[in-house]
């Protein structure tokens, strides 16, 4: 059997995805001196597009990643969702080819076209068996460099996106995370959903999409990474394809300032009567990715809320049985960052969970961490390093993320050494500088009986679910 289609699989704990380089979740490091990153060949095509090649001949597979080092937040005011619409229509027509011809051709190489729209970047990923490598790159270039953006395809995409937004509202976890983002970032673009809203999508025209494509897909913003079993002809193929990418005229990217946050803690409660379990989110602003305290913040967070033995998991799940999982994380972005705690519990225990999680967070900031905890966290992160970077796909992805945030590639090679030099006093200083219990925003999406409990833990801003979701 090749596949295990296990929709009924259960894990002891929902693990977050690891990214070494930042942007989401936890960075790691190698304790294993034998582990070395694969040799990476970087160069620049004649038009300025960067290329990254990592050869790994162990399996007959090739992955192509096309990175654009800008994302959703540079959308112009009133155009929320236009980047998502570029991503949804870019492969739905090119030259004389229809959407069906394109999807069929990608499928004939074994894989689908996928594109990820993030606040700070966009990433196109394509995979094939290695004997289709040249064909994949030539075809990817043809599709990406000359998208049609036909009106009927735009209408299709809008319809699909608006239905998908409605479907997301059926996921309490997604709604709660969006609610916290809004509380922390306010009107700043980081507080918006990448897919925009049903209202904003309706106002976007074809010209907006074409302009957005021309804004983003510029050689100066692009890196093409090809990893796997690479053919000798690959540099020439890249030169013949992406080397011919032309820069088009477009308006400038919208300038984004750093967000400001209310210095007070707040509680927002959204009531959805049918829920028997409350989704609870805590958060406040944190540091940007290029802040020199990045590594210290990440290792401190791993002690508080990452993995089975974190302080939060140990007390809230293992000792009190209040939840199935509780995790804290710091998402470090281009202009700022967000510290957040994600968890859930049955409605009847929401107040207790919030009280206990806040208490643990206050203790963490007041008392700092111990040398024993720091040593354990270093070992943990070092061990995860080869796991996250085990494949050349993982290495390429993390290297590309570093490029998004302007971090030197030596970050990966030096990380073990840098991690080892971290001192307890430095980590505890950074905890006091960047973690703020008094600024903690709390967002709760829950059912009956929750509001009374929340009123006992602070002043609550209550919103009915039907009102709250109108904005999406």
């Amino acid at each position: 059997m090749i596949f295990s289609k296990c929709h009924s699989d259960f894990s002891r704990f929902v693990m977050g995805a690891f990214v070494v380089a930042g942007a989401s979740s936890c960075q790691t490091m190698s304790r294993n001196s034998a582990f070395e990153l694969s040799s990476t060949q970087e160069s620049r095509l004649k038009n300025g597009i960067e290329t990254m090649l990592i050869n790994d001949s162990s399996l007959p597979a090739t992955t192509v990643m096309v990175l654009v080092r800008h994302g959703m937040i540079s959308e112009s005011p009133g155009k929320s969702g236009v980047t998502e619409l570029v991503g949804s229509t870019i492969d739905k027509g090119s030259g004389g080819m229809s959407a069906n011809q394109i999807s069929e051709t990608f499928a004939s190489m074994g894989g689908d076209f996928s594109i990820s729209i993030e606040p700070d970047y966009m990433l196109v990923t394509l995979k094939s068996l290695s004997f289709d490598q040249e064909r994949l790159i030539r075809f990817a270039y043809q599709v990406l460099s000359n998208p049609t953006f036909a009106d009927d395809e735009i209408q299709r995409a809008k319809k699909r996106l608006t239905t998908s937004i409605r479907a997301l509202l059926d996921q309490p976890s997604a709604v709660a995370s969006a609610g916290l983002n809004q509380m922390v970032f306010g009107e700043h673009p980081y507080g918006r959903a990448v897919f925009g809203s049903r209202e904003s999508l309706g106002k976007i025209r074809r010209g907006d999409i074409v302009n957005r494509f021309n804004q983003l897909f510029r050689p100066e913003y692009m890196t093409v990474a090809v990893v796997g079993r690479l053919n000798e002809s690959l540099p020439q193929v890249l030169d013949e394809t992406f080397g011919g990418w032309k820069q088009r005229v477009a308006t400038n990217l919208h300038e984004v300032a750093s967000p400001k946050e209310s210095p007070r803690g707040e509680i927002t409660f959204v009531k959805k009567s049918d829920l028997t379990q409350s989704q609870v989110r805590f958060g406040h602003l944190s540091i940007a990715r290029n802040d020199p305290r990045f590594m210290k913040v990440r290792i401190a967070n791993s002690i508080l809320g990452h993995g089975f033995t974190s302080r939060l998991m140990d007390e809230i799940r293992d000792n009190m049985g209040l939840t199935y999982t509780i995790q804290s994380d710091v998402s470090n972005l281009r202009h700022t960052g967000i510290f957040h705690i994600n968890t859930f519990t049955q409605n009847q225990r929401a107040g207790l969970l919030i009280t206990e999680a806040r208490r643990l967070y206050e203790d963490f900031v007041k008392g700092g961490v111990t040398q024993e905890e720091l040593d354990s966290a270093k070992a943990y992160l070092k061990g995860l390093f080869p796991q996250v970077l085990e494949t050349v796909d993982g290495q390429a992805f993390n290297r590309l993320i570093l490029k998004v945030y302007g971090i030197e590639q030596s970050y990966l090679t030096d990380f073990m050494k840098d991690l080892d030099t971290l001192k307890l006093s430095e980590v505890n200083d950074v905890i006091r500088e960047t973690f703020f219990p008094d600024r903690l925003k709390v967002f709760v999406l829950g059912g009956e009986g929750v509001e009374d409990q929340l009123n006992l833990v602070g002043k609550v801003n209550s919103i009915e679910y039907s009102e709250f979701i109108k904005q999406f």
């Binding site: 090749i2 259960f10 693990m15 999807s103 499928a107 068996l129 299709r156 239905t163 479907a167």
Partner: protein
């Protein structure tokens, strides 16, 4: 420019068929050594000198199909208890030891099997042997840990199913597809049964199913072969074999007429799902059914996506898959609709797509593309040490022989358009189908749920 245009044209015109050279490139095989200890423990070892990771996986041939009625969810609840400590690594020491050595660990429970894994930097491979053999030999849990984990599991159930309409739909698919078989109940179990389970039940479960003779250990990645063999022998050989007390499977009677269920929840978007029983794991037609699933509803080039999502625009996503289990398979499709009023058309299109394949078969192009997808999935699944270990364990547990993994590509390649049509005729009979609808609650009857 002309050169580029010519190249692009020829690229587009290429047929996706796989030639002999490509086939040989896909004849993937990596070295595996197998040993069976005197107590019946099966061990598969695949060492790679280049891997920085060692993935140590222990799979037991026990899942929710082995539960008694009235104790549903026990297999999964027991999986949680396996992290509550043993003789050498008590309670929290297990997780803390793994963290202190840079490892990660977790587990999963399905209807057929339960798997535990620890991934370590390869220098700590031996530590995994010590941790896992300790809990197989001397697991310790008490009333207090059972009580605590029961609450954790109940929160998991509320998260994945009770407050997740799609989770309810998935559980209903099995509940309606199977009338008698133990596959009909959800792996997570019911709240009542979780509350009913006792310490004695958990001890019985361990005694009945966690014998070394019911386990397969797979180690893949960077480790030294002879040392690993010796360590495993030394650590496990004295764990006594116990009789595995498995319940006899309950035969599922032949379905004689279509079944349907409508679930009403406070949802924004309606869904519709279809299900048929398909061949069990290792069944003669299981490869053809996997390919058929890809042709019908996997990817933007699939028949359902083109017709429902692209052409008619009455659905936003389609997913079809064939899942092979030990006693039966299920061939299931999930469709997210744009509105309630489109559901009737979606059902009609689904039935006509299936009937058309039963009547006329599929095209060679569809078949070739589906094979390519499966091959790429196969290669992708083997990129990590954990992926290799999982693939070996799956084949050993489900098919009784890890070697089946290396023969799979050839079996998929042998599937032709005739066998696809024959499989559709054999298994996709509309009189033996199941339809489940997930609809928004009607305003006049907002409390109506789960009406059959």
């Amino acid at each position: 420019m002309l050169k580029q245009l010519l190249v692009i044209t020829s690229v587009f015109g290429l047929t996706p068929q796989i030639n002999a050279e490509q086939n040989s490139a896909l004849a993937l095989r990596f070295p595996v050594e197998k040993m069976v200890l005197e107590n019946g423990l099966t061990v598969l070892l695949s060492a790679s000198s280049t891997s920085p990771i060692v993935s140590y996986q222990t799979w037991f041939r026990v899942g929710s199909r082995d539960e008694k009625e009235g104790l549903t969810g026990l297999a999964h609840l027991f999986e949680h208890l396996m992290f509550k400590g043993a003789t050498r690594y008590s309670n929290k020491e297990f997780d803390q030891t793994i963290r202190n050595h840079g490892g990660s660990a977790n587990a999963f429970t399905t209807r057929d099997y339960t798997g535990y894994y620890i991934n370590f930097p390869n220098e700590f491979a031996t530590l995994a042997v010590d941790l896992e053999s300790d809990r197989m030999a001397s697991l310790k849990f008490d009333e207090e840990s059972l009580k605590s984990e029961r609450e954790v599991v109940k929160e998991e159930k509320r998260f994945r199913f009770d407050n997740n309409p799609l989770g309810k739909l998935f559980n209903s698919l099995f509940e309606v597809t199977f009338e008698k078989s133990r596959y009909r109940w959800p792996v997570i179990g019911s709240m009542e049964d979780l509350d009913r389970s006792t310490l004695e039940d958990a001890k019985d479960f361990f005694s009945s199913f966690y014998s070394p003779s019911n386990a397969v250990i797979v180690v893949a990645g960077g480790f030294e072969m002879s040392k690993m063999k010796n360590d495993i022998k030394a650590a496990y050989q004295n764990i006594p074999r116990r009789e595995v007390k498995r319940l006899a499977p309950i035969p599922e009677p032949r379905q004689k007429s279509p079944r349907s269920l409508t679930i009403r929840e406070a949802v924004q978007t309606p869904h519709i799902a279809f299900s048929f029983r398909s061949p069990k794991a290792g069944g003669e037609d299981s490869h053809a059914m996997d390919i058929l699933g890809a042709i019908i509803g996997e990817g933007e080039d699939s028949r359902l996506h083109r017709e429902l999502v692209y052409k008619r625009q009455i659905a936003t996503s389609v997913s079809t898959y064939n899942q092979s289990m030990l006693e039966s398979g299920v061939f299931q499709t999930l469709i997210q609709a744009t509105s309630i009023k489109s559901l009737a058309t979606i059902a009609s299109v689904y039935n006509s797509v299936v009937e058309q394949i039963r009547r006329s078969g599929v095209t060679q192009g569809e078949l070739d593309r589906a094979k390519k997808k499966i091959m790429l999935d196969f290669v992708e699944s083997l990129k990590t040490a954990a992926g290799k270990a999982r693939a070996l364990a799956l084949n050993e547990v489900m098919l009784g022989d890890y070697e089946a993994l290396f023969n799979d590509i050839e079996k998929y390649q042998k599937v032709d358009v005739k066998s696809i049509q024959a499989s559709a005729l054999a298994y996709l009979n509309r009189h033996q189908g199941v339809t489940i609808k997930l609809l928004p609650e009607s305003r006049s009857n907002s409390s109506q749920k789960g009406a059959k």
